[in-house]
C-alpha cells in the first residue's frame, strides 16, 4: 500500500508483511572525529516488527535518531515511502507519520496522563492558537474528536485508572506505558521504540511485549525497536539488525542472527591475537 517496489514476505506466525516503508542507504554519521555509524544500509517493511540490537555504544540510539530526523547523517540517504527524504526537522518527520518513545522517559511530569497523551495528537490539530483559546466551533469539535482517539488508546493500554493522575506520581513501568500511549496517539505509520523494556521486571516486560504485539496486530503499525533483552527481541521481532561499533554485523530473522558467528563474537567477546 505504501510502496510499490516491495514484494513482502509471510512471517512464521502467518502475518503478511508488505513492501519497504523505510530504507536507510549507506548511512554514515559522525560527531567531530567520532564515527557513530559507519556505512549502514537496511530497510523496514510495512507491518513488521524490526529490532535493532547491539552492545553498548554500538550506535543504536543514533540510528533511531537518524530515522526520527533528530540527527542528519553526513553521508547516505533515507528513503521513506519510496521517496528520498530531504533533511528535516523532527516535527516534520512526526507529521509524516513517525512517532517515537525515549530511552529516558520524556513526559511532561506535572501534567496528567490524559493531557500527556493528548499532546500526542498535536500533529493532527489544525486550528490555530486563537481558535483554541476562544474554544468555540471548530476547535471544540477537533478536541472532542481527538479525545475520542485518545480514550480508545487509554482503553487499549489499560491505563484508565490513572487517567487523571499527574505523571510524576506514577511508577516507572506505568510511565513507559504512558509514553507508548502518547506515541500511539499520533496514529503513526512507523513507531520507534527506544528500549521500551529497560529497567522493568519480568511481569512488566511481559505486559509491554503483549502491548507491542497488540499494537502491531490491531493497528497494523510498523514498529522499529531497540532492546537489550535478547529473549524479548527474539520473541517479538520479525527481523533483526545487529550493530557493533557503528557497523552492521548482521541482518535477518532472529534465528539467522542467533547463528551468525560475528554476532556471537560481538556479544560473547573474542580473543584478540
Amino acid at each position: 500500500m505504501l510502496d510499490a517496489s516491495g514484494d513482502g514476505y509471510i512471517t512464521e506466525d502467518g502475518r503478511k508483511i508488505g513492501g519497504v516503508v523505510m530504507e536507510m542507504r549507506n548511512i554514515t554519521l559522525r560527531f567531530g572525529g567520532v564515527v557513530a555509524i559507519k556505512n549502514i544500509s537496511f530497510d523496514i517493511r510495512e507491518g513488521e516488527i524490526r529490532a535493532i540490537i547491539g552492545p553498548n555504544g554500538a550506535g543504536k540510539s543514533s540510528m533511531l535518531n537518524v530515522i526520527s530526523g533528530f540527527y542528519v547523517p553526513q553521508e547516505g540517504e533515507v528513503w521513506f515511502r519510496g521517496e528520498k527524504r530531504p533533511p528535516m526537522k523532527p516535527y516534520e518527520v512526526a507529521r509524516q507519520g513517525i512517532a517515537r518513545t525515549f530511552q529516558n522517559i520524556a513526559l511532561f511530569e506535572g501534567m496528567s496522563v490524559l493531557d500527556n497523551v493528548m499532546t500526542g495528537r498535536l500533529t493532527h490539530m489544525k486550528t490555530g492558537l486563537m481558535a483554541q483559546a476562544i474554544w468555540k466551533g471548530k476547535a471544540e469539535e477537533e478536541e472532542t474528536a481527538n479525545r475520542e482517539v485518545v480514550e480508545k488508546i487509554i482503553d487499549f493500554l489499560e491505563i484508565q485508572h490513572i487517567r487523571k493522575t499527574p505523571v510524576s506520581r506514577l511508577p516507572y513501568g506505568l510511565k513507559k506505558r504512558v509514553e507508548l500511549a502518547r506515541a500511539l496517539a499520533a496514529e503513526p505509520k512507523l513507531l520507534l521504540l527506544d528500549e521500551p523494556m529497560a529497567g522493568m521486571n519480568v511481569e512488566e516486560k511481559e505486559d509491554m511485549s503483549r502491548f507491542i504485539l497488540d499494537v502491531n496486530d490491531e493497528f497494523g503499525t510498523t514498529i522499529a525497536l531497540i532492546e537489550h533483552d535478547m529473549g524479548v527481541v527474539m520473541d517479538l521481532s520479525d527481523r533483526v539488525v545487529v550493530m557493533d561499533y557503528g557497523k552492521k554485523i548482521g541482518d535477518g530473522t532472529p534465528d539467522e542472527v542467533r547463528n551468525n558467528q560475528e554476532v556471537i563474537d560481538a556479544y560473547l567477546g573474542v580473543a584478540h591475537d
Partner: protein, 719 residues
C-alpha cells in the same frame, strides 16, 4: 398472598419484568458503564431492544430450551444482558467466577454440560480453549471484547455484536419463536444456576427458580423501600448470588439503574463518580477503605488531623447513630429534602463560625485572667466545644458542624455521599469498622444469607443495627434452631435442588422445605436478633472437652488492621495454635514510617518487630477471649506468622475468600506439628500457583512464638 399476586400480574419471570420495565420506565436509565472516559447509558427501552437482539441471535445460533449458557467475565452490562437473553430463550444462565483457573472452570462447565460459553475477553476465551477437549458438550464460544482474538479459529467462536446483528437480521422469522419461548416461562422454571464456592469439596450447582429470585427481590425491596430511583455499583463477582439478586433480581423488580465500573482498578473512582444510593460490599471492602483513610490521615496536616480525630471520637460516642442516620424513605431528593439538607448545612456552617467567635472571646477573657499561661488553661478545656448550649442541643449542633467539616467531605471522598442503605455480609465485620462507617452517618447494616436461600435469611431493620448480631428473620422467612445449635430456615427463596446431586439436596433440604445452614447460632434474649457462633461443622472440642469455635477467635484477630487472615487449630488437641497472615498495606506502611527495610512479603512477615506487634495483638485477644466463660479454652498458646498470603489460586481460600480449613491443615501439616511439639523454628517449603496457572515453590524458616494466656480462674480453683 403476595406470591399469587405477582403471579397474577403476569410477572413470573425476569424477561416478563424486563417487558414491564421497558414500558413503565422506558426512559429511565437501566444500565450505565464507563467506557472511553464517559458514562455510557442505556434506558430500559434500549436495554429491551439489545436483549431481544441477543436472544434472537441465540435462537439463530441454535440455543434450545433447557440448554446451559456459561457466562464468564467482569461486570459489564453486556454480560447482564446475556443472562436475561438466555432466560428469554428458555436456557439457563450459569455465571462463573472470572478469576477461576482453567482447572476449576473445567469442572463446572463439564458438570452442567454447557453448550455455549459467553466470555468477556481473550483471557477467558484462552481458558475455555485450553480445556475444550474435556468438554464434549461445548459447541460455541461467544466473546465480547475482540481484542487479540482476530487470528483465532472462528468456526466455533463468535463475536457478541455479530450474534446481535444476526439476531436483528433474522428478527421477522424468529420473533414468533422467541415470544413462544418467553411466554412458556413460568414461576417454577429455572431462573439461574449458581455454583457455590464450596468450602469443602467440589462446587455444587444451586438451581434457583423464578419464584425464588422474584419473591426474594420483592420482599427485600419492600423491606428497604427500594424504588426505581436507586443507583447501585456492580463490581462483585457475577457468579455470586448476592450480585445476581442486587444487580438483576432487585434491579428488574424495582427498575433501578445498575452501574458498571470501567475496569476493576477504577472501582473506587467510579464509586465516587456514581455515588450509589444503595450499596453492598463484603466486610473486606469496608476494611480496605478504613485502612486507606487512616493511612492518609497520618499524612494530613496538623489541623485536619486534629479535626478528624476530634470529630470522629465525638461521632463514635453515639452522636452519629443519633443525629447522622438518613431518615428519608426514598433515595430521590424531593424539594423538601433539599431544603432540609440546605438548612442543616447552613446550621453546620453557622455553628462553625459561632464556635470560632466563641473561642476567640473566651481566649480573650482567659488572657485577661491568666496572662501568659492563657493558652495552656484554654487548651485544658475542650476548645471546640459549644459551651453556651445545653445538651442535647450542644451535641446536635456539634454533629451538624462535623458534618460540614469532616463527615460530609469524607463520605463524598469515599463515594458514600448519597447512600441510603448499605449492607455487608459474608463474614463478620469488625466492630470498629462497623462503628466508623455508621458514625459517619452511613446506614450500614448486616444481613445473613446463603446461596441456597437466594441470599436473605436475616436482616437488620433500620434502627436496630448492631455489630455482633445479624438481625431478625427477613420477610417470609421462618427460622428454627435445633438442639445442636444449628440454624434451619424455610422461605420462598429456598432453592429448588443441587444440580445432578440428589444426595446433597436431600441432606440439606428436608421434605417440609427446611434447609440446614450449617451454621451454629442462637437468638438473643429480648431483642430477638440472631447471633452466629461459627460453622456448625467447625465447632469442636478441645482434648479436655472445652468448646472450640475457631471463627470466634479468628474474627477477633482479623479486626486488627495488621492482620489480614487468621486460622485457628485446636480441635481434639490440648490447646489452640494459630496461623496469621499480615496485611501488607497496613504493615508495609508501618514499616515505611519506622524505616524498616524489607524486600518482600516473606521478609516483612518474618521481621522480629512485626512478630512483636502481632504477639501483642494475640495476647490482647487472649484476654478478651478469656472473658467469655464458654470459649475461654480457645486462647492461643502458640502462633506463627505465615510466609505467604493464603490465596484462592492455591485452593487455600474460596473464591469468596473464606478459609478452607481442611486444605490448609493438610498443606501446612509440618508447621502445625512444629507448633505442637514445642520447637521454636520450623523450615518449610510451600507450593504456590501463579495467576496464569504456573506453579512454583517458596522456602522459608519461620519463627514460632509463644503467647501469654490468661488462666481461667475457675479452672485454677478446680486444680
Amino acid at each position: 398472598m403476595a406470591q399469587t399476586q405477582s403471579g397474577a400480574e403476569g410477572l413470573r419471570s425476569l424477561p416478563a419484568l424486563l417487558q414491564r420495565n421497558a414500558t413503565k420506565f422506558a426512559n429511565r436509565p437501566a444500565y450505565r458503564e464507563k467506557e472511553f472516559g464517559i458514562w455510557q447509558c442505556w434506558t430500559w427501552a434500549e436495554t429491551e431492544k439489545e436483549i431481544e437482539a441477543l436472544a434472537l441471535g441465540f435462537i439463530n445460533l441454535g440455543v434450545k430450551e433447557g440448554d446451559f449458557i456459561a457466562i464468564i467475565g467482569r461486570n459489564r452490562p453486556y454480560m447482564y444482558w446475556s443472562m436475561v437473553a438466555a432466560q428469554s430463550v428458555g436456557a439457563v444462565p450459569v455465571p462463573l467466577y472470572q478469576d477461576a483457573v482453567a482447572e476449576e472452570m473445567s469442572y463446572v462447565l463439564g458438570h452442567c454440560g454447557a453448550r455455549f460459553v459467553i466470555a468477556g475477553d481473550q483471557e477467558q476465551v484462552d481458558k475455555v480453549i485450553e480445556i475444550q477437549d474435556r468438554l464434549p458438550n461445548l459447541e460455541h464460544v461467544i466473546y465480547l471484547d475482540p481484542r487479540g482474538l482476530r487470528k483465532y479459529d472462528h468456526t466455533r467462536l463468535h463475536q457478541y455484536s455479530h450474534i446481535q446483528n444476526q439476531g436483528r437480521a433474522a428478527h421477522d422469522e424468529l420473533i414468533g419463536e422467541l415470544k413462544r419461548r418467553r411466554e412458556a416461562l413460568d414461576y417454577d422454571s429455572t431462573c439461574v444456576m449458581l455454583y457455590t464456592s464450596g468450602t469443602t469439596g467440589k462446587p455444587k450447582g444451586v438451581v434457583l427458580s423464578n419464584r425464588n429470585v422474584i419473591e426474594s427481590a420483592k420482599n427485600s425491596a419492600e423491606f428497604d423501600n427500594l424504588t426505581e430511583e436507586e443507583n447501585i455499583l456492580s463490581y462483585l463477582p457475577m457468579a455470586w448470588v448476592g450480585d445476581f439478586i442486587f444487580s438483576i433480581g432487585q434491579a428488574y423488580w424495582c427498575g433501578f439503574c445498575v452501574n458498571c465500573p470501567e475496569s476493576p482498578d477504577t472501582m473506587m473512582i467510579d464509586l465516587r463518580e456514581i455515588g450509589p444510593t444503595y450499596f453492598f460490599a463484603p466486610p473486606r471492602v469496608f476494611e480496605t477503605q478504613l485502612t486507606n483513610v487512616m493511612i492518609r490521615m497520618e499524612d494530613a496536616g496538623a489541623l485536619k488531623y486534629a479535626l478528624f480525630h476530634h470529630f470522629m471520637d465525638f461521632a463514635k460516642g453515639g452522636a452519629g447513630e443519633k443525629y447522622g442516620m438518613p431518615r428519608r424513605k426514598r433515595s430521590v431528593l424531593t424539594l423538601k429534602r433539599r431544603l432540609v439538607r440546605a438548612w442543616r448545612y447552613a446550621m453546620g456552617v453557622g455553628f462553625a463560625i459561632e464556635t470560632l467567635i466563641e473561642n476567640a472571646i473566651r481566649l480573650f477573657f482567659y488572657k485577661l485572667r491568666y496572662g501568659k499561661e492563657a493558652r495552656a488553661h484554654f487548651k485544658a478545656r475542650d476548645p471546640l466545644g459549644l459551651m453556651l448550649y445545653p445538651e442535647p442541643l450542644r451535641s446536635y449542633f456539634k454533629y451538624r458542624m462535623g458534618e460540614v467539616l469532616i463527615y460530609g467531605p469524607l463520605k463524598d471522598t469515599l463515594g458514600f455521599g448519597r447512600i441510603r442503605v448499605a449492607y455487608t455480609a459474608g463474614e463478620a465485620i469488625g466492630p470498629e469498622i462497623f462503628e466508623f462507617f455508621r458514625s459517619l452517618g452511613i446506614n450500614l447494616k448486616q444481613l445473613y444469607g446463603q446461596t441456597e436461600a437466594t441470599v436473605f435469611i436475616t436482616v437488620q431493620p433500620d434502627g436496630e443495627v448492631r455489630a455482633d448480631t445479624v438481625g431478625v428473620p427477613a420477610p417470609d422467612v421462618e427460622i428454627r434452631i435445633d438442639e445442636s445449635g444449628e440454624i434451619y430456615y424455610r422461605s420462598p427463596g429456598v432453592f429448588v435442588e443441587y444440580f445432578k446431586n440428589p444426595e446433597s439436596t436431600a441432606s440439606t433440604k428436608d421434605a417440609e422445605g427446611w434447609v440446614a445452614t450449617g451454621d451454629a447460632g442462637f437468638f438473643e434474649e429480648g431483642s430477638g436478633h440472631l447471633r452466629i457462633i461459627d460453622r456448625a461443622k467447625d465447632v469442636g472440642k478441645l482434648a479436655d472437652g472445652r468448646m472450640f469455635a475457631p471463627k470466634f477467635v479468628e474474627n477477633k484477630l482479623k479486626f486488627y488492621p495488621d492482620i489480614l487472615e487468621a486460622v485457628l487449630f485446636g480441635n481434639r488437641r490440648d490447646f489452640c495454635v494459630a496461623f496469621i497472615n499480615i496485611d501488607l498495606t497496613a504493615v508495609g506502611n508501618w514499616a515505611e514510617r519506622n524505616n524498616i527495610a524489607y524486600a518482600s512479603y516473606q521478609e516483612l512477615a518474618g521481621h522480629p518487630q512485626v512478630l512483636d506487634t502481632i504477639q501483642k495483638h494475640v495476647e490482647e485477644v487472649n484476654e478478651s477471649v478469656a472473658q467469655d466463660s464458654m470459649l475461654s479454652g480457645c486462647q492461643i498458646h502458640r502462633f506463627v506468622v505465615l510466609h505467604k498470603e493464603l490465596d484462592a489460586d492455591d485452593g487455600e481460600l474460596t473464591r469468596t475468600r473464606k478459609v478452607r480449613r481442611r486444605i490448609i491443615e493438610e498443606k501446612y501439616a509440618d508447621i502445625i506439628d512444629a507448633l505442637y511439639d514445642g520447637s521454636s523454628k520450623v523450615s518449610t517449603e510451600t507450593e504456590v500457583t501463579y495467576e496464569d496457572g504456573r506453579k512454583g515453590s517458596i522456602r522459608a524458616t519461620l519463627e514460632i512464638r509463644d503467647a501469654r494466656v490468661v488462666q481461667d480462674p475457675k479452672r485454677m480453683a478446680a486444680e
